[in-house]
Structures are given as C-alpha cells and as structure tokens.
Amino acid sequence: MSIACFFDKPLLKPQTQISKSDNSITLSYKEDSFSITPEDKSLESIVMFLDSLNGKNTITQIASNIGYSDQEVIEYINILDEELLILEGNDEFKNAISGKNLILKIEEYVQRWTNQKGVDPFNKLVKNNEATKSLLVGFALEYFYVTKRAFTTLMPSTMFQLSPQIKQELREFAMEEFNHDRIMVKALESVGISKEDAYNHIPLPSTAALINLLNFWSHHDPLSYMASLFIFEEASDGNEYLESLKMYDLPENYIKPMYDHSDVNEDGDHGAISRNLLKHVEYVSLDDQKRVIKNMKLLINTVYAFYDDLVDKYYENEDLPVRLAN
C-alpha cells in the first residue's frame, strides 16, 4: 500500500544543523536532536537526500535525484515530519492580491456589469418625472424596511476577528447607521402610513433578498461584506434621485427625512467605505477573490431585480401599498 505525503515540496527547517559521524547523521534543531543510523542506505545518499529537502523539489524529483523510490522518499520524510523537522516549501502566494487591489478589481467589474445592464426602470421613471405617487411611496416603504434592519444586519460584522483598524471602521460604520429608521418613518407618516403599519410591513421578496445578502456576509463572510458596502451605499445615496423628488407633488415632510438620511451618509463618506476597510487587508487568496467576485455579481443582479420589482409591484398600485399578515 502506498503511503500518502502531506508535503508538495518538502523543506528541512532552515536552522537545522547536520553533523555526520562514522556511521550516523545527527540533525539538531534548536533544543532537539535526532540521529539517523541507516541500515540499507549509504550515509552519502542520506546526506544527498537531506540536501534535496530545500523546498524546491517534488517527491518525484527528490527520488530520481538520489535513486530512491517515491515510496522510500515519502517514508523518510514522514519520519522527519514525526520529529517536526519539515516545512512546506511550496509556500508562494503569487495568486494572492492585496485588499486594495481586490476592491479596485471589484470596482471595475461592478462598473462593467452596471454598464451592461443600463439604467434600471425605477430610476428611469423617477428622473423622467414619470413615477407615480404609489411608486415613490412604495420605494420609501421598502427603503424604510432596509433601514429598520440595519442595526441587526450590521452588528455581527463588528465581531469579525480582523485587524484593530478594520474593527474600528466597522464599528463606526455600524453606529452611523443606527436609528435611521426613526428618520425615515417620518417620511412614511407624512403620506398617511402609520408608524405601526410601517414597522409591521412585509417587504417585497426582492427587498428581503437584497438586505439578507448583506446579513449573511455580516455573519459569515468578512471579505464579501466589506467589498459590498460601497454598492449598498451608492445604491441608496443617489443625489440625482433626491433632486428629482422636487419635481413631484410630495409633502415637505416626505422629502426632508430622505435628505437627512442622505446627509448622514454623505458626512460619513460612506461611498469610500469599502476602500477604507479593504486597504487594511494584507492579501486575499485566489479562492477568496473568486468567491467575492461571484457574490458581487449576485448583488448587482439583486439590486436590479429590486428595481424591477419596485416598478412591477408599486407603479400602478393606487391603494396604500402596506402589506400586513393577518
């Protein structure tokens, strides 16, 4: 039966001293030492074997260099590994990139994806002064749901075991988002939705899908969480959207809370949040990059599904759009 080897390119720990006597070889590493007295191999070939453990050779290369079989090489490496004398030499991170380059890459992709998709139907209607009142109120209601969820959605991320600078940023970000629901609920009250109904409103599945992506990452995926924040912030802080609200016959109390909420976000420079977090990440492995890219693609798809859904569900809805379960 063949024996498995844990190592790709075994490396004898660099500080190991090798001393040779007549019939044995002694390896000393810090306070430990280990003697080899070969029975069926020459001392010379053992020395060659040890020299080849330089972290650059595979098992097969070592075997052919010194004339052992692969299985013999593995067996000897496993003996040295028992003594904790071996490291993995195949330890290059050439596929990893910095956190800064990750977010720069994501920014490029996000721009590409949004260009491919074009302007969403919701923002198109709003900016062309073609939105109905029910659409605008529906949007506010869904947006309110997101702000209501902010507290429990953001808090788990503050417990990520990351560098102190990142933890600090995450805490500050979370605290700045606290209680925005109290601002936003005023907008809803100004168009006749009671506070109680606003808080009990059942969101659209697309709204839930959007905020729950962030919720999952906040619990379990720090990189995706940090990378996604700028997308959430940009989606919610369109000044163009706010400007265009002036074209509509809406109560001042509806518009003002929207501005108040946006001001808080602008002051905190939340669009840069992803850069400010990821710049502290030293490196990101290829697998992690792939996962984050996939997640951001899904996020952009979900943002567009959300806007489609808003128009689909609220554009022609004359009645107040609150949904409650009885």
Binding site: Y109, S206, N212, N301
Partner: protein
C-alpha cells in the same frame, strides 16, 4: 418606600402563596412560611376589616383598579400598599394564570392553516400551471433542478447556526437528527445534473438566480437570528404535499427526460418522504409551552414573506429558463478572466 418605581409592571398583584394572614385585635400578621418571616400591619387610615379584605383581593385575579373599586381605597393608595408589600418581596403577579396563552402546537396548526391559504398563489404561477399541463419548457425543468441543487449546496450554512444556541434538549435532538439526515442531499441532486453534462466545476463558476439566493438567505437570517421563524419555515421547504413530490410526479409522467436526470431526484424525494421532514415543524413547536403574541406576529409575517418569495422563485425560474436565448448556467466571465490572469502571471 421602595424607590424601584416598578409598581406599574404588576398587572394583577398576588400575595405569595407561602403567606398566611392572621387577624389580631388591632393588626394583621402576615407570616411568610417559606423563610419563617412575619410582620404586623397596623392600619391607621382604613379599618382593619377593609385591610383584611384588601389583602384577600391580592389573589392574582384583580388589577389595581379592581381592588380600588372593590375596597373603596383610592388607586394611588392601593399601589402604595402593594409597593410596601413588594419591598418585603411578598408580591408576585397573577396575570399569567388569568390570561389564556397560545401553545406552540396550537399556534403552528393555526399558522399552517393560514399558509395553506397563501400557498394558493402558486396555482396561478406559470411554472406550476405549465408543469401540470405538460407544456413546460424542458429547460425550465432542468433549471428547477439547478436552482434546487444550489439551495441544497447552501443548506449546510443555514441548518447549522440554529443548533449553536438551541439549548432545549428535545429540540436539539430533533435538529441534530434533521442535520444528519439532510447531509449529502446536494450530492444526490448533483448526480441528476452531471448525468446530463452539467459539471460541479461549471456550477461553481455560476451564480444562482436572485430569488434562489433570496430564499436561502431568509433561512440564513432566521437560523442566525430568529430560531422560531426558522423552525416554523422548515415544513414548507421539506415537502408538504405539493413539493417536491408533485414536481417529481409530473416530470416522471408527463415529460420525456433521461432517466439519469430523473432517478436521482426520485431517490431524493423518497428519502425526504421517509424521514418525514414535513412533520418536523409540528414536533418542534410541540415542545413550546406557549408562544408570545409578538413572536406570533413576527413568525406569521415571516412565513408570508417566505410564501411570497417562493412564488417569485418559481416565476423567475419560469421566466429565465423558458427563454431559449438564456444559457442554462449564468457563468461569471470575470472568474474565467481571473484564472487567465493567474496563468499569465505564472
């Protein structure tokens, strides 16, 4: 006087059952038999009879206002006397015994009734209408299996968290059993897909549809933050009488599909049926003595959202996969790009 200022928390004040009241000449002696404590109350502004009557009304069935009305003592005085007794830790509250609460089982059975009504929305969902008519595009059937696999693959993420804080031994056992039984189901359904040439690697490079992920993340949210809603949702996804059995039955009788595609899914449905996962929710809720009304409201709203999301899930599958211009898998080109970059660097 106690300065705890919590007197208004009491709804129906109740003298501890360990206390007995002895009427003496000028005073009442309250004996606490639990800690052998006793003290006398000598009334100066009401009659001894009225004080005795007042104490007898502290039976957990009367509100402060009831006591005031019955004894003629003003409300503020009633509270003051009760507060005095509370300072001696002789008062508890009887509201619980007075109010009728909803048991876990009662709640969940009522909720099932509501859910079955909401689920009628699927009767007008084009996916289900066409599936049953035998006219559904085959890609939509394959698409359903793809999305189903993507859910099962993510299921470990949402079956796990709830167990980390479920301390009730009965519920823990049910959830552990469930976790074990669900383990590996993704591989079963994956066989269906690999048998028709869709590989694990290609699936890994693709994103699920928006509402597939939306469905998973509802469960993720509840498993992490709202165990009651998670437990309530299980029976819907684990095959009540409409799914996945209906789906399997329809695709094996009305459509000409390769057996390598159908058989693993039949096996999966049989396995679920055998485990009786459709009954899990009832068994879990049966362990709750009562469900508070605020919890009831929240769970009910959440299950409505789940049904709405399921409706969107099937609509999206129908819309996306019935369109022959759409590829079966939504591969992310940038993942191919990044692999190429790595090759160039190396």
């Amino acid at each position: 006087m106690s300065n705890r200022n919590t007197i208004d928390l009491f709804k129906c004040p109740k003298l501890r059952e360990t206390c007995t009241v002895n009427k003496l000449d000028q005073s009442l002696k309250i004996v606490d038999n639990f800690n052998d404590d006793a003290f006398e109350v000598t009334p100066d502004d009401i009659s001894l009879e009225n004080l005795d009557y007042f104490i007898s009304l502290l039976d957990g069935k009367n509100t402060f206002q009831d006591i005031a009305n019955k004894t003629g003592i003003v409300l503020e005085k009633v509270k003051e006397y009760v507060e005095f007794l509370d300072r001696e830790l002789l008062i508890t509250d009887g509201e619980f015994e007075k109010t009728s609460y909803t048991s876990g089982l009662e709640f969940i059975i009522d909720l099932e009734y509501k859910v079955s009504n909401w689920m009628k929305v699927l009767d007008s969902n084009p996916f289900w209408i066409e599936l049953k008519q035998g006219t559904l595009n085959k890609n939509a059937i394959i698409g359903h299996t793809i999305e189903n696999y993507l859910i099962l693959e993510k299921e470990y993420d949402f079956d796990g968290p709830i167990m980390s804080f479920e301390q009730n031994s009965q519920r823990r056992e049910i959830l552990h059993e469930f976790y074990k039984e669900e383990h590996g189901h993704d591989e079963l359904v994956l066989k269906s897909l690999t048998n028709i040439g869709i590989s694990r690697e290609d699936l890994n490079k693709s994103v699920p549809l928006v509402y597939t992920e939306g469905l998973c993340n509802l469960l993720n949210l509840w498993s992490n933050e709202d165990p009651l809603s998670f437990m309530a949702s299980l029976y819907i996804l684990e095959g009540v009488d409409w799914e996945p059995d209906t789906f399997i039955q329809e695709i094996s009788t009305k459509y000409d599909l390769p057996s390598g595609f159908v058989t693993p899914q039949v096996n999966h449905a049989d396995l679920n049926q055998g485990h009786g996962h459709g009954n899990l929710t009832r068994h879990l809720f049966n362990t709750f003595t009562l469900i508070e009304s605020e919890d009831q409201k929240r769970i009910t709203s959440n299950l409505k959202l789940l049904v709405d999301t399921l409706d969107e899930f099937y609509r999206e599958i129908y819309k996306y996969y019935s369109n022959s211009e759409n590829p079966l898998l939504r591969k992310v080109d940038e993942l191919v790009e990044i692999d190429k970059d790595v090759l160039t660097l190396a």
